[in-house]
């Protein structure tokens, strides 16, 4: 009998609501066994603006995932993003209280609490508290201090926090679909980096930019830990909106033009080339030239990436990005974005897709699935390894000799 656990990641995104069902196997490997997706309505900039329609989308997405996996789901991990999500680095220090000066779990808890003590505003809650490393009596870079002897324990942490009431809208939206229950929240940007980066890349230094429909989330990993993260509430919707305004088109048409003819690299051949969305008669509609379309797109994408680059430089970790930049999210599909990003960052740029799961790989090797898969992976991490299997004999023995 092989045992497993079902873990679900649910991203209520601006352009799609995506449910990823993973199975954590006996050997703690994780496989994706089902995916469900539904175009979003009632979400702007990664936050709920119309609860009722958003609930319907969650419902459809979950149903589709359940059908594809053949399981029923109850507990999910939900992604959160939006302009309210912030992060900071902090250092905590406590005297070691354990017996014989040995560091215990309680000391580690205390030092992390201490690190968070100052900075989080009252209405906010911590989404992630990620520990970089510990410093034990001046010795830097300690990964696991439990059991070491010391007088003093320091911890450097990266805290990602958000406004509780705004994050609760996502929880409410998901929990309005019975029988779903949200276990906890995961920051989409961090989730995308979890799915995309290998352990080695996080050591080398990497930045993951998750450009979705409504927000651009970024996470910087250096030496195996998150050093910086954040949200800029600009995404693919803004590009389409710019096009609609600049070329005086309806939004739906702007969106289709963006997908079919858009690019952020201009070349001579585009100049004066009239374009139209496929399947649309050109007669009677105003003419759109490709160079106009692409100029608008390029300006927006370039600006957004430059803001991210500025965030990276301001954080001071810009020089430590050895493995390069990874683009995920729907905007990673924009033609020429990889080259544009390489130009802006001066670093190797790749389109990031989920690396670290087994299962339905090919259809999942798309940048927009990085975040929901990452949410699921973070869920696996939070739930911990499966309890060790006990043989019948061991069970009986335990009953006979309770410890």
């Amino acid at each position: 009998m092989s045992r497993s656990r079902i873990v679900v990641g649910l991203e209520v995104g601006t352009s799609k609501v995506c449910t990823v069902i993973g199975e954590q196997r006996d050997d703690n490997a994780v496989a994706v066994i089902g995916v469900g997706e539904c175009p979003s309505r009632g979400i702007r900039k990664a936050e709920v603006v119309d609860l009722d329609t958003a609930i319907q989308c969650v419902h459809q997405s979950v149903q589709a995932a359940e059908e594809s996996a053949g399981v029923e789901i109850r507990t999910v991990f939900a992604g959160v993003s939006g302009s309210h999500v912030r992060s900071f680095n902090s250092r905590g220090m406590v005297p070691v209280m354990g017996e014989n000066g040995e560091i215990t779990d309680a000391d580690v808890d205390a030092v992390i609490r201490n690190a968070m003590a100052v900075n989080v505003p009252l209405e906010n809650f911590e989404i992630h508290t990620l520990c970089h490393d510990y410093n034990v009596d001046g010795q830097d870079g300690v990964q696991k201090p439990q059991g070491m002897r010391a007088m003093r324990l320091q911890a450097d942490v990266h805290v990602i926090h958000g406004v509780e009431s705004r994050a609760q809208n996502i929880v409410k939206c998901v929990q309005s679909v019975p029988p779903l229950i949200v276990n906890s929240m995961v920051f989409n940007g961090y989730a995308a980096s979890l799915a995309v980066l290998t352990e080695e890349q996080t050591q080398l230094g990497a930045m993951v930019i998750d450009m979705g429909g409504g927000t651009t989330n970024f996470t910087v990993h250096v030496r195996g830990a998150v050093r910086h993260s954040g949200v800029i509430a600009v995404g693919g919707d803004h590009i389409a909106n710019d096009i609609a305004i600049g070329l005086k088109l309806p939004l739906s048409r702007a969106e289709r033009l963006k997908v079919e003819h858009g690019s952020v690299q201009l070349d001579e051949s585009m100049k004066g080339r009239a374009i139209a969305p496929s399947g649309e008669l050109r007669i009677g509609t105003s003419v759109v030239f490709q160079d106009q379309l692409c100029t608008i797109m390029r300006l927006r994408v370039e600006e957004t990436l430059q803001l991210v680059k500025q965030e990276l430089d301001d954080s001071g970790w810009g020089a430590f990005i050895g493995a390069g930049v990874f683009l995920t999210g729907g905007c990673a599909h924009i033609r020429g974005i990889k080259e544009l990003a390489a130009e802006i960052f001066g670093l190797p740029v790749q389109i990031g897709t989920a690396q670290t799961v087994m299962g339905l790989t090919t259809p999942l090797q798309r940048p927009e699935y990085a975040a929901p898969i990452g949410i699921m992976l973070e869920g696996v991490k939070r739930l911990g390894p499966l309890p060790k299997r006990q043989s019948l004999w061991e069970m009986l023995r335990n009953i006979a000799r309770p410890t």
């Binding site: 702007r44 900039k45 603006v49 302009s83 900071f88 680095n89 902090s90 250092r91 003590a117 100052v118 900075n119 505003p121 009252l122 800029i232 509430a233 600009v234 919707d237 803004h238 909106n241 710019d242 609609a244 305004i245 600049g246 070329l247 005086k248 939004l251 201009l266 001579e268 585009m270 100049k271 004066g272 105003s286 003419v287 759109v288 030239f289 160079d291 106009q292 692409c294 100029t295 608008i296 390029r298 300006l299 927006r300 370039e302 600006e303 430059q306 803001l307 500025q310 430089d313 301001d314």
Partner: protein, 465 residues
Amino acid sequence: MNPTDSTVQENAMSVREKRVRILVLGVGGAGCNAADRLADRLRPDETNGPHLVAINTDSHALSSCLVSEKFQLGIKTTFGLGAGGDPAIGLKAAQEDRDRLAELLKGSDLVFIAAGLGGGTGGGASPFIAKLARDAGALTLAFVTLPFEFEGDRRNEQARAALAELKRETDAVVCVPNDQLFQMAGERATVLDAFRMADDLLAEGVRSIWRMLTKPGLINLDFNDLRRALEDRHDETVFGIGEGQGDERAAIAADAALKSPLLGTGQILAEADTILVSLVGGPDLTLADIQSAVSTVRRKADRNPHIFMGTAIDEDFKDRLLLLVIASRGKTGNGSAVTNPLPSERDLAAAPTVEKNATLPLAGSQPPVKSAKPKSLRAIQPSLGLEVNIKGRFDKVEPTIYHGEDLDYPTFLRRNIRIGDPNDRPVVAGEKLSDGQQNRSRSWQNTVAAGGSLAAGHACARRAV
């Protein structure tokens, strides 16, 4: 016009002569530290600058203060031992010395009060002192800090009560919670650094206002403008300072000022309805500099605010430019009802200038206009001249404001890049684009430079008493 000429005291009353008497009071422990810092900065050449006084109930702390003029508050009440964190004692001490304080404040035109509100002296005495200052006819501005969250509820509540009190008694309060300051100072900043930054910020703010009022300028911004911009602005007043050097100094300075943490990374600016822009430059200051700086600020403002601007020329500022932005958001509460009786009484008592009467009706009529304006009536930037709503689908959602720029407006509009009417044969896009790129790379360099100068001293924190 020569500010070094201090012989004719009587002329100091005349605003036209640009001799405004500025009094800076550091009240309580935190306030004295800030005053110290300012004294330190002013010492070499600006001895004729603002008049600094350190006020404290704790004689021991006061004696270690660098400011030459010290004011021992409430010696009978506290025996020089401090207020013990009790604002009631702080208030009592101030009341005891009411006459001496009134004497000190007499004849001042502009009074800055620096204090940390968590303590007894800062929290208790400063509202009282502010009231006396206003009674003496001075424009009264308070720069205060709120205690850290971890200092406990009692202290925080005390500080909040003091803040409310202070808002009633002053023209404008610039209030900075220590928690926020600490974040801005950066995670690795030492406590000392963070406090120093706070003191620096206050010092720089006071100094630039002083400079603006006393140095000759291309475009005058006088005391009455300042008064008009700040009088009775209780709701929210913030300021940011930026400095730039070299060819792009105006843009660099504007950028740094707008990114100043106290401006809430620009959010508050976007909602401001009065903005005061003051430039200090050297003799080589050009009109283009002024235009560039002011238009940068104007672009960030969302609500079509009333912009006051002035420039001053300072010989020391060769090839440099300092920009001070003071923004205030109209009052939303019912504060005006409480304060209305005060200004008139005060103005009658003070009226040091002829022009004052002329500005009075304006100053008085401004707040009601503002409070009557519904929040949803957003001004569309007129220069863009588009009849449609230019935010498109983002019209009704919370704006994405990032370093003072509303990113929901299309990039090409914000950059003023013409895409061309889709129905004429448009411009050569390649050309357009390279244009845009140039702008961008330039502004990018600016922001790097500005980031540097920002870190150099405009994040801040201050000790609670």
